[in-house]
Symmetry: C2
Subunit: 385 residues, 2 copies
Amino acid sequence: MKNVLKFLLAALAVLPMSLTAQPQPQHTPPAGTQPNEHNIKGAEYPRIGEDGRTYWRFYAPNAEKVEISFRGAMTKEADGYWTYVSPEPEVVGIHYYQMIIDGVSVADPNGIPYFGMGQWVSAIEIPERGVDYYSEQEVPHGDVRESWYYSNIRNEWRRCFVYTPAEYETNPKAKYPVLYLQHGMAEDETGWWRQGKMNFIMDNLIASGKAVPMIVVMDSGNIEVAFNGRSGQTREQYGADFTPILLTEIIPHIEAKYRTLTDREHRAMAGLSWGGLQTFNTALPNLDKFSYIGGFSGAGSINLNELGTAYNGAFADIEAFNKKVHLLFMGIGSEENPGRTRSLADGLKAAGLTNVVYYESPGTAHEFLTWRRCLHEFAPLLFQK
Amino acid sequence: MKNVLKFLLAALAVLPMSLTAQPQPQHTPPAGTQPNEHNIKGAEYPRIGEDGRTYWRFYAPNAEKVEISFRGAMTKEADGYWTYVSPEPEVVGIHYYQMIIDGVSVADPNGIPYFGMGQWVSAIEIPERGVDYYSEQEVPHGDVRESWYYSNIRNEWRRCFVYTPAEYETNPKAKYPVLYLQHGMAEDETGWWRQGKMNFIMDNLIASGKAVPMIVVMDSGNIEVAFNGRSGQTREQYGADFTPILLTEIIPHIEAKYRTLTDREHRAMAGLSWGGLQTFNTALPNLDKFSYIGGFSGAGSINLNELGTAYNGAFADIEAFNKKVHLLFMGIGSEENPGRTRSLADGLKAAGLTNVVYYESPGTAHEFLTWRRCLHEFAPLLFQK
């Protein structure tokens, strides 16, 4: 008997639906506010006001206390929601936060989780007006690829993310220069792609002719656990095994798999915060491998009085350094105490370095808006010699 | 005066460190248990026992009540941790869960967040013994790429994930067949790649010669919000706009950007759960475009008594169907009421369909282990004609 045989969705029979979603608020949001761009689809809160004030509303009828990290305690309303409005406009840029529910810090279930501060965090972004260099635009788009390789140094499978420019697909014989681009402390290989929007920055720069098409490689700097939570490692040891992994495993993997230009003239390295320190520690003692170098909001220590012996003698012969290193870029936000970085750049210039570029991002602090701007300034200077 | 100018890490000056990480337990974990493979690096809990029992420990000293979804309430210990041990061994496979902290459901801060059930969930996996078809192995690895395009139908920038096989990089003139592979209800374009480990399954199948090298495209089926949370859409409307997006936007995007074989003989579609329904709804009425079809734990409704009129008459001429459709695959887990799917496969075979393949995954339910196995059975059957 093959009577009305219904092939019903097994899904509907067994999919457990008991998870409690954050219910959508029934009320009307304050006029002139927009949902935060890092919310999941359909989540109305948090919201941003026209003046940069942030508006929060979170459903937790049974909680005793709900806080927003870096902001403060929320107020419990009669309908089970907790609310908060920032007393002042918040500064432009992308800011990490967590919800703290009766003392437990978690990523906001209404937001896209990012890996930052050694944990899953959410992000709220106060948008810049009239700026589109990091937005999706109608230009050819490169791909960001997850690329796997085995590390004998760490005895583990690792992945890096590899940006290949749009024209990589259509020029099957072309070979490309490579920028190795590192995240900061307590972030990972996803940071530049997810929070940093590096792919849109590169797409737009390349489409406008401001930057040459290049491959960008982003790996884990082995600093996912913040330094102050790391036991048994000195400051010098922290993240230091990234240098041999990059030099002897990642670069060979990339150059074997992708169509790359493999000489030092076509290899750059940059990093943000602790990734800037790793960049200086990796590139400066290995100038046979790198010719463009960048530190965004962080780099190594340089004692200008001992410049000749710093970084394995990289600066011992200033004239040779100027010929070899086409760019030594130092970027930093104006709101994160840029004085020392500016002074270092000035000092290096005064010492005779001709290819030092200092960039100060106006009005931004130690966060990804500073670093998006740094990349946007840095990338056009690469591989132009 | 350029005296001992220190370029200190701006990071250390301004990086806010006040987020509270889940502290690591000081106690000794139960003998024979291992951390869940979906924990973040360094997180010891949850753990899996040798017999499949699960062990949980979660720090929430100020919470009134902590629960694990689908399991139950945890027990508060004197040290601020909450604990739970599953009363029975859990079934093999990857199971979504959330932590419920005083009534608020969130992804476990100690786990990797996945998008499932319309929210961020964590996953605990009871490993299969002696199975490595979805593990990273020492074989050539394909890339999973994030690929952006603009949808005029939805007026939005969209991304799909595109698996290109390892040899795509080394055979610059080769063109490849394409499998369009869809996720289930309340999941998104990341599901097959992240939870499903489709890239390792394909790498291993291709390396062993069991499957031909192919491109696999994974997009959002526009069903991120579960059907029962969706307002204003009938069952027929829910996710239905995915069909024109696939046919008129995604396929043209993929075929313009990647080296693909563009005839129906080299195009397949499959999906899991509601993605299986979307596959039947998309491929069966468009047999000029697809020649291999798969539904994993779900597909459309077929009334065998009205077979001739189903899906725009796809089955009206059985002989023509058999020539056109080289594979109509139906897979399902033995623990999710497979009877109706088995009967449908039998009924279709009895009606004269020669290329129906029914696969029943032993001991698994409505979750990604069933679907990994389905893909592992399905992919070797593709593009062999």
